[in-house]
Amino acid sequence: MTRDALVAQNTRAARIAFVVAGACAESALQPLLPFAEWLGLLVLFSVVGVAAVGQPFAPPKPVAGSAGRRTTWPVRQLVAVVVIGLAGAEALGRLRPGDIAAEGRTLALLMMFVQFAHALASRTRREMALGCAAAVPTLAIAAVFGGDVTLVLPITLALAGVAVTAALLHRDALLESATAVSAGGAGSAVRACVAPLAVALGIGALLFLALPDTPQLRAHTALSGASRLAAGGDRGASGVGAVGASSLDLNARGKLSDTPVLAVDATAPQYWQGAVFADYDGRSWHVSGRRTLELWTPAAGMLRPAEAPADGRARTDIATVLSAGVDVVLAPGVPTAYAGVGTVISDGYGNARFVGAGPGRDASYTVTSVAPSTSDDALRAATGADPADPRWTMVPADVAPRVRALAAQLAAPTGNRFDTVAAIENYLKANETYDINSPLPHKGDDPVDDFLFVSHRGFCEQFATAAVVMLRSVGVPARLVTGFAFGDTSAQPGKRIFRESDAHAWVQVYYPGVGWVSSDATASAAAGAASSGGSSVRGQVADALTAAWKKVPHGRVGAFVVVCVALVVGFVGTVLVGQRLIRRRRVAQVGAAADDGPVLAAYLRLERALAAQERARAPGETFAEFARRLGGLVVGAGEVHQAMRCLERECYATGRRAPAPAEVDAAVAVFDRLRAAVKDDVPVVVAPAGRPLTVGGGSDRDRVRR
């Protein structure tokens, strides 16, 4: 292949690699943009990039005679500049200050146009390298604004594409500038990148796993999707403590483990409440704590609360405590009766907590609770008086006006409380994203306003608080309840196990004549996200990867150990398999053909045996030189030389010069003896192969070896 053909082929390969890298990076932006818009820009980029594949790179410096300045711009570069300008204007038009989601969409759109412009206008290697490097900020934008576990694949492929493009561009420059080349096609350069890419992947994974798991660099909890409930008071970030805490701070984040907390019957309801929060001060929820009634004492037995739902069903459940420190009575509804260890007091609003020590680990208690269960039609038709206590409709004075306005806007078309609740929940489901890693609002900002209008991301606390605040602002009595939800029915047959990570917050709305009915806006949003994700390949992959990550023991440290072990095993396996393949290839190269003479066949058998020990005849080494090295303790030098001469005559001589049968037998015997000695591990090669030197007339030679 001529030099020009090599350069042209390498240039084509570099442009193709650039298109692949850019497409992989842009695929990471898909969650940030409307699908049609994203797909259109991706197709545009790919088409333009592929169309430019056959174009050679222009020289980086101006052509001689142009006075050192480029006075005219090619059309494509002008178009690219115009495209970027228009994209910038469009992006600025879409930008909404303070709206993070809009910022992400804007930046994603801008980067896709920048990539398109690079594909259109890259003429020199430097410009192509810059265009390729633009894939990295593209990945960064996708990571910041739309990161989920499915980003692993686009990140890996895009970085690999960027690396291969860089390698090909570097090779292109060398091919063009070198005085002489000895090179094959671009495929050899791409193949040379495979092993380093694999090493880079391993090193990158190890680096990531070795990063400290600090709040700033949190990974395991973020990837495992553990739900977090704010911990209040002095109980720290314990899920059980948070459930039973007297306050719930919306600006706090906690770490919840998979420690089992409670075991109930598998047929028991999925929601078990522990604390009912009545008062919201704009930053946190508080339990009222004003009225305390004894619900149960060991001496007096069961007592009744002051309030009881008007229309509900009482049910009795037996719960087994699996973790120490449970200080609230967990029940499917408002506890009305209790039997077990400890003294229980109730505030009449649904909170029942232990005074002093509650049931210890593996202790069981029996609780009777009431939770209204009514049809949707009955709830729509519910009429009557609301509770006189104003706390259920109280909203802090500093709640942002736009929050109230939004609630009023959603409630206006509805004609009843049930539809109002449904409208608010549907709005939250459609416009807010369930995200366990939701960012904290800026200090001093209203958490509800930040959730509804700025971040649009939150978990159960944000969803429930927003729903309660909006309902209260339109006069609907509502309250926030914390407890445990769903649980695990597969860990123990017949049992539903609630773990710390099952801690949850939801809403209870008062329906006149019915009572406090639970409603979970988070479930619909999370279910919506799960269902939309589950129905798409991306969502299924995300779920599978997240589930796999959850199974890694000890989080990041465990993953680090697993990756290290995998790398070591992989490396050792690769070395062993590679050696085996090399040995097999060498042995195959000395295989005998059917029409080989007996001396040649015997010699080839010897070669196979020596090849297995990597002591075969060196390339370029003649039979005579090889013969000088053979022998040792097994046969004399003269016998080896005679055998080799016999071999040469068998291969090349005809007629009278062909070896006699006696010579053939002797030569075969010599080679077989050597072969047997090799198999018995007796040394037969007495010296390593010398490398022949040739001296050129009128010149000098020098050698360098690392």
Binding site: L139, A140, A178, A180, A183, P196, L197, A200, D700
Partner: protein
């Protein structure tokens, strides 16, 4: 550490490291796990590139290079690369250049793709000297290129053997070195002037065969040239390297002297250099040496000039290889002095 001698970072390394640093800072500020992943990916690429050269065993490279060069005449520099290992090697960038006070020839660079294990590759690159001179040595390096072009290891070796670059070929001056023997008599001897065509005799060199005459007559005919002069040839060099006119005159002088020495004439050269004069008798293996080496030659001292004329002797020729800025008066003096010594003076500027 010896293995890492010549370890260099490519131009792309700094932007990559800067990008990774920015990503790490952004990851901390935004608490984004995936930014950490991207940053670690970039750092992994950097580490893999460094490891790809740091732990590669390399290969054997043999260089075959010429000793004597002539301006404008391309010569081959041959690299032979052997991979004795069991793995495919890294791409190589081989470089060879002459070490001299001024640039005598552009450096030769050779790119070699990764070589499969056990194989050998030979690459020839053409070196065309552009200026005459003397290189104190040559420098060559074998750069092993890391993955993605981020790192390389380029140990450099220096060859201390001097390399002469002779002046460009030029047509020699047709000097009459005829010693005055009768036409056609006697054995043919070396000379420049053509005396005639005669039949071939045993001992005549094949290069003197006149093929056209031989074809016409059907018998081998040779061109007979005149006898060489019994006098010698002296060369006087005055000028500075880099002067285009002086370089052209030098080329003519070198060609003329080479031919004369090949024909058996005695040649002497005087070179007046700052601090010392240099006198030498030229042999068939050293005709190019003074013409290649001269950087600055001043007008000779009286002693040196006399020394030269003594050796050339009466009946010889004095060749003047002068630059244009030599004072005409001085040239006239030289002519007069040489003529008084019985020497013919030839100003080579008339032939350059």
């Amino acid at each position: 550490m010896r293995r890492l001698a010549g370890f260099r970072a490519g131009r792309a390394l700094r932007p990559v490291l800067a990008g990774a640093a920015v990503l790490v800072v952004l990851a901390v500020l935004s608490r984004s796990v995936w930014l950490q992943v991207v940053a670690c990916g970039l750092l992994g690429l950097v580490a893999a590139s460094a490891l790809s050269v740091a732990f590669d065993k390399g290969c054997e490279v043999t260089l075959r290079h010429p000793n004597d060069l002539v301006v404008g005449t391309p010569v081959d520099v041959c690299f032979t690369v052997d991979n004795p290992g069991v793995r495919r090697g890294r791409p190589l960038l081989l470089r060879y250049e002459l070490v001299a006070a001024r640039s005598l020839a552009p450096a030769v660079t050779v790119y070699v793709d990764p070589i499969p294990p056990g194989e050998r590759v030979e690459v020839r690159a053409t070196l065309t000297p552009e200026a005459r001179g003397e290189a104190t040595g040559a420098r060559w390096s074998v750069a092993q290129l890391g993955a993605f072009g981020l790192f390389s290891i380029a140990p450099t070796r220096t060859l201390d053997r001097r390399v002469l670059v002779a002046p460009a070929p030029a047509p020699p001056v047709p000097l009459r070195l005829d010693g005055g023997a009768p036409d056609g008599d006697g054995a043919m001897r070396a000379g420049l002037d053509v005396r005639g065509v005669r039949e071939w005799r045993p001992g005549d060199p094949a290069r003197h065969v006149h093929w056209r005459a031989s074809a016409r007559t059907g018998e081998l005919r040779v061109l007979e040239r005149g006898d060489p002069s019994h006098g010698a040839l002296g060369v006087l060099l005055v000028g500075r390297a880099g002067d285009a006119r002086f370089e052209a005159v030098l080329a003519v002088a070198a060609a003329t002297v080479r031919l004369a020495v090949d024909e058996g004439a005695d040649c002497y050269v005087w070179l007046e250099q700052p601090g010392a004069g240099c006198f030498g008798r030229l042999t068939p293996t050293s005709t190019a040496s003074p013409f290649a080496r001269v950087e600055r030659a001043d007008p000779p001292s009286a002693k040196g000039f006399s020394h030269l004329l003594e050796h050339v002797g009466g009946g010889g020729r004095l060749l003047l290889a002068l630059a244009d800025d030599v004072p005409p008066g001085w040239v006239a003096q030289v002519r007069d002095f040489a003529a008084s010594s019985g020497l013919d003076v030839v100003d080579l500027r008339e032939f350059a």
